[in-house]
Symmetry: C2
């Protein structure tokens, strides 16, 4: 039923997978469970924490969230994790009672090996919707996968969670808390905010910091808003979107009780930057993407208003097709600002593209010269700045263009 997804790598992909650091107290393994049609493709990723890790998570707001998301939400309140199991090739969404049973079976399978409760095992699935997950294939290979746990097989882990992605996504950084070194490493998958047949956005971030679950959750929420919640490929929201942050507590820094602790400043910046890096990689793998687009909005009533305006521009098919065509079409940007429903000052609306003004105080600049703008639009990176002139709220969002490639992938995906 499914045709093979395109295997050409996105033109916006990074040159190579980054060098990534191990996280003390975390081991990873991958395997072939045979869920993906191709038996040579990795489709299973297992993460095990030597000791209980603190955990935080943000999940899809969809009212049709899948069985694994419901499982994770249910157990997150305890704030502890011993393992994470992710399969690709099947999303285990809309599979009724069988879907819930499959989650329990997978969690129990891992728990038996690790020696923990099933509720301490986080589960995610990504792939085809509405087909039963052959969880027995997962259970069968688990012992062998468990035996192969290693400190840092990041590249394979990032590959094992891919579906329509054209490249694996990872990022790693060292920072400090209270003068003691701390590592953060994360992987993500997603090629479009979602393509619910064979995709979804998943991101897992691991650190050796020693932080209680409540602090992690606060940090993650802020990091997510400025990164994964500020990107869009096609405005569609997955039934399985998941971002989780695990902290093994192996770092040697002093105890942190509150998210407001000044000792967290550098860690917070590093986490925000790492989440943004991963989110940008998702956009760079956007279905059919030819251009990476940054939309900065300022002068709005609030940060939230600025983000709403930014996403209204980023989600507009007319703006995205104009950029695909290399057209600095400010009329379409004005339209998208208008449909956002946010307060703006029409007579002080300013728009620039690549730093070149295309609208000043709500009208084209006198003697407007399109040449430098057209040159900027011809490149792979397009930067749009919109000031709506009513306040101090600002936000930046990222998207890609809407091209024939998107239609090819999504109109011809199944046959």
């Amino acid at each position: 039923m499914s045709k093979a997804p395109k295997t050409v790598v996105s033109p916006l992909a990074p040159a190579r997978f980054p060098d990534m650091l191990p996280v003390s107290g975390l081991r990873l393994a991958t395997g072939h469970a045979g869920i993906k049609a191709s038996s040579t493709k990795l489709d299973l990723m297992l993460a095990v924490f030597d000791r209980p890790a603190s955990v935080a998570g943000v999940f899809t707001k969809s009212s049709t969230a899948g069985a694994p998301v419901r499982w994770c939400r249910k157990h997150l309140s305890k704030g502890k994790a011993r393992a994470l199991i992710v399969n690709s090739g099947n999303a285990n969404v809309y599979t009724g009672k069988a879907g819930d049973n499959a989650v329990v079976t997978a969690a129990k399978g891992v728990a038996g090996l690790v020696g923990c409760r099933a509720g301490d095992v986080y589960v995610a699935s990504t792939g085809v919707i509405g087909e039963n997950l052959p969880v027995e294939k997962v259970v069968k290979v688990l012992p062998r996968v468990y035996k192969s746990l290693k400190a840092a097989p990041w590249h394979d882990a990032a590959v094992a969670i891919m579906t329509t992605d054209t490249f694996p996504k990872g990022a790693s950084v060292t920072t400090e808390i209270g003068g003691k070194p701390v590592t953060i490493s994360g992987i993500a998958k997603g090629s479009g905010m979602i393509a619910p047949d064979m995709a979804t956005m998943l991101a897992y971030v691991f650190t050796d910091a020693k932080l209680p679950a409540g602090v992690l959750q606060s940090l993650l929420k802020v990091a997510a808003d400025a990164s994964f919640n500020s990107i869009t490929v096609d405005s569609d929201t997955s039934t399985s979107d998941t971002l989780q942050l695990f902290a093994t507590g192996q770092a040697k820094h002093p105890a942190i009780a509150k998210v407001g602790d000044p000792a967290l400043r550098k860690f917070r910046q590093a986490l925000d930057a790492l989440c943004l890096d991963l989110a940008h990689q998702v956009i760079r793998d956007g279905e059919g993407a030819q251009k990476f687009i940054e939309i900065a909005v300022s002068g709005a009533k609030s940060t939230r208003a600025a983000r709403t305006i930014g996403l209204s521009i980023a989600n507009s098919p007319l703006v995205k097709t104009a950029i695909a065509g290399g057209d600095a079409n400010w009329g379409r940007i004005v339209m998208a600002v208008g449909k956002s429903g946010q307060d703006i000052a029409e007579t002080s609306l300013n728009i620039s593209v690549g730093g070149h003004p295309v609208a000043i105080n709500g009208a084209p600049p006198a003697g407007y010269d399109e040449t430098p703008v057209a040159k900027h639009m011809a490149g792979q990176n397009v930067a749009i700045h919109v000031d709506v002139g009513v306040g101090r709220g600002k936000a930046t969002v990222w998207t890609c263009d809407l091209t024939h490639g998107y239609i090819d992938i999504n109109a011809d995906y199944r046959s």
Copy 2:
């Protein structure tokens, strides 16, 4: 700067322009003002009422609405109209003070010929954004256009307001109020909910009914919600969208004071049907459209919730590309239902395509046979029904598929 829009007629166009009836007390004329690049194209439409007509209107909710929309809103409270002037080729949006002046100049030009106040002249413009309207060209040809007023040059009137449209749109019906015959005739333009360079949705409906402006406004609001507010091509909202209803009062029926008057039943039905007919024609001219899609939602908490769910499906690029590919991809429909944020009962979600169930109580039917569904999807008309199982709210919305044609038109429109 602009390339000529595609001139191939939409494959979903009606076989021919309908036979349309004159409306007593209304005369129409068209002209060439030379605003469109091609000097042979009609770009001016004038409607004059022999005596003051009652008027109602609903306009774009965009916060960047154009100068003509602001003019119409301002004068609508008086509820009277003597004339309507519409140009195509230039939207007079984001043209600052010059734009407001152009509206006044056009209104005064018409008022001088008709012998009325400028405020009794309604004005609309559709076309390129951000370029000054050469209103002097309008004023110059107005006397000649005024002399050519006739009872029912509907086809030319519908052509004169076209921009990227590939066919003129009109509908006409006779009904009755209190046993006396009443006529309703209307024209519309739009090819996409909007393409703000050279498009926008405009619709003008005229009747000889004798109805006060307050009653007209209530009738129009209801008719608009179930028609023009229930269609979407690409989720983008124009800066100029306008729907107006004019009543000349020449019909011989008894006076009507309230919108709840039972004598209005047939008129209301006829008006609703005519607005729906025009709205469907706009969808049939959707940019790149190859399929006409009806999405009926039932079982929602309210009518509003049902419409929100329907529009979430209709606006999903993943649903629209799946349909373009002839794929009855119910996973994408589930995703779009989920992202609407409305209450649903996951275990009693039912979806059918062309009357064939594709999901029963939240899962694929046992022994699901794709053959009849695939056959339905191969046709030009696609019907989707979704029951979300929580209430009695229902609504139907209409859209078209998302194809390479849309990308061609919008990515290559300017160069």
